[in-house]
C-alpha cells in the first residue's frame, strides 16, 4: 500500500508542499526530498538525538515524528538556523573548544543547546550536562561540548559575543 497524502509546511522559512507516505519520518522527508542533510540518521529509536530538529519552536526527535504530522507547521533544521544566525555564537564556541570531531552529533547538539540557552539562560554546568544527555557523542567525550555551551551562557549573561575563531570576510 503506498497511499500518499499532501502536506504543506514551512521549512527554514520557505513554504513547501509535497506528497508523502504517512509512514515517512519528518527527517527522512527533509533529507531525501528536500536534501537537507543536517539532521543525521542514528538509532531511529529516539535515543541518540542525531535526528534533532525544531518544529514550531521546539526541539523534537525527527525519527519519532512523521512528515504528515508536520503539516501546517514550521520546521527549522541546522541549515536554516545557521543562515538566520540563531546558532552563530554556539557554533563559534564549538569551534573554539574543539567540540566537534566527526560532526555526526553536532547538528543535534547545537539544536539542543540552542533550546537550553533560550529556555534556561541561567543553567549551571550540571544542568547543561543533564540537558544534553539525550544527545550521544562518540568522539569528544562531551567535556568540550559542555564547555562550549557554558561559555555561551556566560557570554550571553554578561551581554557579550563569542569572539569568532575565523575572521569572516
Amino acid at each position: 500500500m503506498s497511499i500518499k497524502k499532501k502536506i504543506s509546511l514551512t521549512v527554514n522559512g520557505q513554504a513547501v508542499t509535497a506528497e508523502v507516505e504517512p509512514r515517512t519520518h519528518l527527517v527522512d522527508f527533509l533529507r531525501e526530498e528536500l536534501h537537507l542533510k543536517g539532521p543525521h540518521l542514528g538509532c531511529e529509536q529516539g535515543a541518540c538525538g542525531a535526528f534533532t530538529v525544531k518544529v514550531n519552536g521546539q526541539i523534537i526527535r525527527g525519527c519519532l515524528y512523521l512528515a504528515i504530522q508536520a503539516n501546517g507547521s514550521q520546521v527549522d533544521t541546522v541549515e536554516g538556523l545557521t543562515k538566520n544566525g540563531t546558532l552563530t555564537d554556539l557554533q563559534e564556541s564549538f569551534m573554539r573548544h574543539n567540540a566537534m570531531q566527526c560532526g555526526f552529533c553536532s547538528s543535534g547538539m547545537l539544536l539542543a543547546a540552542a533550546e537550553l540557552i533560550e529556555q534556561r539562560p541561567k543553567a549551571t554546568r550540571e544542568e547543561v550536562r543533564e540537558w544534553i544527555s539525550g544527545n550521544y557523542c562518540r568522539c569528544t567525550g562531551y567535556h568540550s561540548i559542555v564547555d562550549a555551551i557554558v561559555d555561551v551562557l556566560v557570554a550571553r549573561a554578561s551581554g557579550q559575543k563569542i569572539k569568532p575563531v575565523i575572521a569572516h570576510a
Binding site: 497511499i3 509512514r23 531511529e44 519519532l64 515524528y65 539542543a112 540537558w131 544527555s133
Partner: protein, 284 residues
C-alpha cells in the same frame, strides 16, 4: 528501521475519533505524542493499518483550574507540565517529576495521557496520578465514565481502557497549603527507565505527617502504594525509629519483580532506601 506502511487520519472532534476507532478496531492505533508508538512502529513491533491522530481534539487539551481540582487534558505534553504555573502552584509533585522523563526533545511531544494509557511500570505519571488521587475521565461508545487511578492501573501494561475508548483528561485535587512532596527516581543515567522510584505526598504539621501517600514505581507490575508504611507514619512524629518501622513495613508489604536492570532483592532493598530519603525530606 522504517515502519511498515499505514494510513493516517486526523479527526477534528472526539465523536469522530471514537467512531473511527470503533470502525478500525484492533488494526488502528491512536497517535498523540507518538514517542512510544513511533519507536515501536520503527522497530516493526507493531504494524497497524491506520493511525488515528487525536492531536486536534479540543477536549483533550489544556490545564484548567476547576475550584479545588486541576483538570489536565490527555494531550498536555510533559514540557507543558514542567513549565506550567498552575502545576507549579497546585501540583508541585508533577513539576518535580517532569524533568525525569526521558529528554527534552521527547518531553516536547510526549503526553500526560499517553504515559497514563500505556501504564509502563517505570513511568512517572502513573505513579504520580496514584499518589495524588487522580480521577481518569474516559470516553467511549457508551459515553463518559470516571475511574480512580487506584482502579485504573490493573496489571502489567494493562489499564481499565477498552480498545474502543479514549482517555480524555484527569482531575487531580489541588495541593493543600501544608502539602509537602518528594519525588525521586534512581536510574543509571539521566533519562533512562527508572530502576526504582518514589512519588510521595503528605500533609505536614511540624514533624508530623498525615494523609501520607507513598507510591513506588518500577518495582511491581503497576505503580504500588505502601499502605502499611502509610498507616505507620500517619499522625506520628517522624524520627529514626519511625523511619525504621516504615521502611520495614514497605519492604515486606511490596513484592518487587525483577527486570533486566535489577533483581527483585535489589529492588526490595531500594524501596527502603527511597522511603528513608523521602521521609527525611518530607519533614525537613
Amino acid at each position: 528501521m522504517k515502519a511498515a506502511a499505514f494510513d493516517y487520519v486526523k479527526p477534528k472532534a472526539l465523536p469522530e475519533a471514537l467512531s473511527l476507532l470503533a470502525e478500525a478496531g484492533e488494526d488502528a492505533r491512536l497517535i498523540a505524542g507518538g514517542q512510544t508508538l513511533l519507536a515501536t512502529l520503527n522497530m516493526r513491533l507493531s504494524e497497524p493499518s491506520v493511525l488515528i491522530d487525536i492531536t486536534d481534539i479540543a477536549e483533550l487539551k489544556g490545564i484548567t483550574l476547576l475550584g479545588d481540582h486541576l483538570r489536565i487534558g490527555a494531550l498536555v505534553t510533559h514540557t507543558e507540565i514542567e513549565d506550567s504555573q498552575l502545576i507549579a502552584q497546585h501540583a508541585p509533585l508533577l513539576k518535580a517529576a517532569a524533568p525525569h522523563i526521558a529528554h527534552r526533545a521527547i518531553r516536547n511531544l510526549g503526553t500526560w495521557g499517553g504515559s497514563l494509557a500505556y501504564g509502563d511500570p517505570a513511568a512517572e505519571w502513573p505513579a504520580c496520578s496514584l499518589t495524588l488521587g487522580a480521577i481518569m475521565i474516559i470516553h467511549g461508545p457508551s459515553g463518559e465514565r470516571r475511574i480512580s487511578a487506584q482502579d485504573f492501573f490493573i496489571d502489567l501494561y494493562t489499564t481499565s481502557l477498552e480498545p474502543d475508548e479514549i482517555l480524555v483528561a484527569t482531575e487531580i485535587p489541588i495541593a493543600s497549603s501544608n502539602q509537602v512532596f518528594y519525588f525521586h527516581e534512581l536510574a543509571r543515567r539521566h533519562g533512562d527507565y527508572a530502576v526504582a522510584g518514589l512519588a510521595a505526598v503528605a500533609k505536614k504539621q511540624g514533624d508530623v505527617l498525615t494523609d501520607c501517600a507513598f507510591t513506588f514505581f518500577s518495582i511491581g507490575a503497576t505503580p504500588v502504594m505502601a499502605i502499611q508504611a502509610q498507616k505507620i507514619v500517619n499522625g506520628q512524629a517522624v524520627n529514626p525509629d519511625l523511619i525504621t518501622k516504615a521502611v520495614s513495613a514497605a519492604r515486606s508489604e511490596i513484592e518487587a519483580i525483577a527486570d533486566i536492570t535489577n533483581s527483585a532483592e535489589a529492588k526490595q532493598h531500594l524501596i527502603g532506601v527511597l522511603l528513608e530519603r523521602g521521609l527525611k525530606h518530607l519533614v525537613s
